[in-house]
């Protein structure tokens, strides 16, 4: 079959370096991946095309790029699964990282963030003579996280990083979870404390993008949620994020409704002078809501059947 790759290229050594598009037509077998096609181009049509790849079996994490607008491993993406009826496929470098040349991006910011979570095991107490004893379930669970190949796909498509480069991002936070969830690690509390800070676990907006694009089933966002859980359990309830979760739950438990009117003030702390700027900052939105008759209700009557909702809460909150 014939496939046309529409590749976004960039050569920093051009007189006036600007990204540009170039199309290549490749005679491909129907089992070809996008990487197979790119290699055909690089080897036989245009050796100046730059990309990273090695294992061609989705384990080395080199070949992350955007294919039809979403980050994917080129070696795990069959042409037939992404080309349109005319055989076109759009290929661009991964996002949220500076482009070096063609499909190669600079992963330094990515690794700086991984490094920021102190990504090494920090056991407590004297080393045992043999192995640490650990339940196999715990190890199997961590295998799910260790399957991360650090390809940067989740970071490429993270919607928070797009607007806030301070966010640690899904890959680094998943890596952090690999230690927090490791029964052998002794630095849990210190780790959680650090991850509670600005740019950490509470800055994820739960858009699910990272879960969707991760080629290895690591589900970074689920790991971030697990970190939040562990942080609250460990007593880190003073953050905006933790309070937001509490206020949210309390409102549902109380009336069955989410009371949006009080959500922000209660989350920020109504009598907290430090939250004044944020509250004032929200005022224009509130005023606009009033103007459009969209200000949320201040009070809600409990929904009918609220007792069932509360039963769910009781069940979930009961000590295990």
């Amino acid at each position: 079959m014939q496939v046309t790759l529409d590749v976004r290229r960039f050569n920093p050594e051009d007189a006036n370096p600007k990204p540009y598009r170039k199309t290549y037509t490749v005679e491909a077998e129907d089992y070809f991946t996008v990487l197979d096609a790119l290699i055909q181009v690089r080897e036989y049509q245009d050796p100046t095309l730059a990309l990273r790849c090695s294992c061609r079996a989705s384990i080395c994490g080199s070949c992350a790029m955007r294919i039809n607008g979403h980050a994917k491993l080129a070696c795990k993406t069959k042409l037939t699964s992404v080309m349109d009826a005319q055989g076109n496929v759009r290929v661009e470098p991964a996002g949220n990282m500076p482009v070096v040349k063609d499909l190669i991006v600079d992963m330094k910011p990515f690794w700086d963030k991984v490094r920021a979570v102190d990504p090494w095991l920090q056991p407590e107490g004297p080393e045992p003579e043999g192995e640490y004893l650990a339940p196999n379930e715990a190890m199997l669970h961590l295998t799910g996280v260790m399957s991360c190949i650090m390809c940067g796909i989740c970071v490429s498509d993270c919607t928070v990083l797009e607007v806030d480069s301070n966010f640690l991002g899904p890959a680094a936070l998943a890596k952090a979870y690999r230690f927090v969830g490791d029964p052998r690690d002794g630095a849990n509390v210190a780790r959680l404390k650090k991850l509670n800070e600005y740019g950490g676990m509470w800055d994820c907006t739960r858009c699910y993008e990272c879960v969707q694009v991760c080629p290895k089933g690591v589900a970074p966002m689920d790991r971030i949620m697990a970190l939040r859980d562990k942080a609250i359990t460990a007593g880190f309830t003073g953050t905006t994020g933790a309070r937001h979760a509490e206020v949210f739950a309390a409102s549902i438990k109380h009336t069955g409704w989410l009371n949006e009117f009080w959500l922000l003030p209660k989350t920020l702390g109504m009598f907290n002078p430090l939250s004044l700027p944020a509250l004032l900052g929200a005022l224009p939105i509130a005023l606009r809501a009033v103007r459009h008759n969209k200000l949320p209700h201040m009070f809600h009557k409990p929904i009918s059947g609220i007792q069932h909702v509360r039963r769910i809460f009781d069940k979930v909150e009961a000590p295990k």
Binding site: T48, S54, R56, I59, C60, S62, K101, P119, L121, I149
Partner: protein, 560 residues
């Protein structure tokens, strides 16, 4: 150009390189690591099945592991080296666990094992079927912790030789295209295997025998290069591996009649005989018409979906992606494919090569613990044990030798070579075409079954390809990430290595382990119980020999 200086420079950031780096640092050396790809992209991450170790604390015997290794090697391994490796394996494994590797456990929370080929005992420790990746990422965690300098995406083009000793490396920084000199009192090569000399192969595209060729060109002895392993279970199209752990967990090999044909060839060990034995059996079935489309079948159906999904999930993914097979429902077509090289840069048990100041560890080295055929899961062990030993020895050397001068003119040879590739007018030829011809030739003639005429053809073809290589032009004229130039230089390394493999294979007039000659099918201990050595000369490899060290296991007839 800049000049950098360290006590020890480690070339390669796979398992061997990282383990060496950590060891050298712990001995107080100023060590740096250099790698043409980011460390976690190294090909060690492809190792699936596991790592062998006899835990004597729970009643296993390292001597038993050593004997299996020696028998597996068809008695070509040096037994002193095998003893070192197997004796130190338990402690090394526990050390890895303490660093953070999330090895599978048994019901009591202790390390769990699986069976691997060529051994009666289950002594292979594993992380599902991503053992290599899980180990590589944990060692990289330690590297991040150590804050050693990593020259990431730097490509070593040659070793710096002065007064017969190695004093550093020359390397291209890929991001800028600049050529640099890195001086060191000791250099450790940990550049991995040579898979891409063959086509297809289970190895990644960066596995291009650079270290073999770098050491060869510098004058080091390169040993037993005829010993190339074909893995019994690889996918037809792209050569991707299906781990031996599948058979370790109980999978069957079937021919087109649905027979478990290993009954004929290895009635006792069946599917878990040594790799050379299983690969030959499969190839015989295929050659005699009991295959389908050049393949036989690996059948996992009776293992059940749950086992497959927890212990073999990565190959389940690979089988789905590349062969459209659900392992719990269908047998998968597989065939023997190029996988590993037992031969390499000759070292002693401290990683020292025949050149002062130059060390080697991992797949590029030949200690020799694998002899004529490596046991599955012994390679990861090799990288960890001899990586550490090489790191320690290199650090020790650094405290003994003083700073010695290196003229900056050492860069001029590489500079000129690069300039001529870039300035040459393109002809119709391409690096990719030469590589493909090389790979297919090697895969046809220097494979599971070999004979004199075929190996001669291969050698002649490689020599012709070298002539074409000398005329090759690099079309990308840029500085930044010139991958075109990179592949061209890698191809040069591979052609050297291919030539060494052919010459070494032609020299050995017997069949042993992976080197099976249909024209001389017998092992001949009287004349050939010895290592093949290859040395660089302008006219091609000069072949010499070295004795095999035998400590306690006399050669026996080998049956499984």
């Amino acid at each position: 150009m800049s000049v950098y200086q360290h006590d020890v420079i480690v070339v390669g950031a796979g398992l061997a390189g990282m383990r060496a780096t950590i060891a050298a640092q712990s001995r107080g050396a100023n060590v740096a690591m250099i790698s043409k790809v980011h460390p976690v992209r190294s090909h060690s991450n492809a190792a699936q099945g596991g790592i062998n170790a006899a835990l004597t604390s729970r009643g296993d015997s390292w001597e038993d592991h050593a004997l299996a290794t020696v028998k597996g090697s068809d008695y070509l391994a040096d037994q002193d080296a095998v003893e070192v490796m197997c004796q130190e394996a338990g402690a090394a494994l526990i050390e890895l666990e303490h660093m953070g590797v999330i090895f599978s456990r048994d019901e009591d929370g202790r390390l769990g094992t699986r069976r691997f080929g060529g051994q009666e005992q289950a002594r292979t420790f594993f992380v599902a079927d991503i053992t290599g990746a899980a180990m590589l990422h944990v060692l990289y965690e330690q590297i991040m912790h150590s804050k050693v300098r990593v020259y990431e995406e730097w490509f070593v083009t040659s070793l710096v030789m002065e007064d017969g000793e190695c004093r550093g490396v020359v390397a291209i920084e890929l991001m800028t295209g600049q050529l640099h000199l890195i001086k060191a009192k000791a250099v450790i090569l940990a550049t991995g295997g040579s898979g891409r000399v063959y086509e297809p192969t289970t190895n990644g595209m960066v596995v291009t025998a650079d270290g073999h060729a770098l050491a060869y060109r510098a004058g080091a002895a390169i040993m037993d290069m005829e010993m190339v392993q074909y893995h019994p279970t690889t996918l037809k199209g792209n050569g991707v591996l299906i781990t031996e752990a599948a058979r370790g967990e109980g999978a069957y090999l079937l021919n087109s009649d649905g027979d478990r044909f290993m009954q004929k060839y290895a009635p006792h060990m069946m599917e878990l005989a040594s790799r050379d034995v299983v690969s030959r059996s499969e190839q015989t079935e295929i050659n005699e018409g009991r295959g389908v489309d050049g393949c036989v079948f690996l059948d996992l159906r009776h293992l059940g979906r749950e086992l497959i999904e927890t212990k073999l999930s990565y190959i389940q993914e690979v089988a789905g992606d590349f062969a459209n097979v659900d392992l719990s429902k269908q047998p998968i077509p597989i065939r023997p494919g190029n996988h590993y090289i037992m031969g390499g840069i000759k070292t002693d048990v401290h990683g020292a090569t025949s050149i002062p100041g130059l060390y080697a560890a991992g797949e590029c080295a030949c200690v020799s613990v694998h002899g004529a055929n490596r046991l599955g899961a012994n390679s990861l062990l090799d990288t960890i044990i001899f990586g550490r030993r090489a790191g320690e020895a290199a650090a020790a050397r650094a405290t003994e030798v003083g700073d010695k001068p290196v003229p900056e003119s050492v860069l001029s040879v590489d500079k000129e070579a690069i300039r001529s590739f870039l300035s040459r007018k393109p002809n119709k030829d391409m690096a990719a075409k030469i590589r493909l011809e090389m790979g297919e030739t090697m895969n046809e003639h220097v494979a599971v079954f070999r004979n004199e005429a075929g190996m001669q053809t291969a050698l002649q073809t490689i020599r012709q390809l070298r002539e074409r290589y000398a005329e090759l032009a690099v079309q990308d004229k840029g500085q930044v990430f010139n991958t075109n130039l990179l592949f061209t230089l890698e191809l040069g390394f591979m052609l050297d290595t291919a030539e060494i493999i052919c010459a070494s294979a032609l020299a050995r007039k017997e069949s042993r382990g992976a080197h099976f000659r249909t024209d001389i099918p017998q092992r001949d201990d009287a004349n050939w119980l010895k290592h093949t050595l290859a040395y660089f000369t302008q006219a091609g490899p000069r072949i010499d020999y070295a004795p095999v060290t035998i400590t306690r296991w006399q050669p026996q007839v080998r049956s499984y």
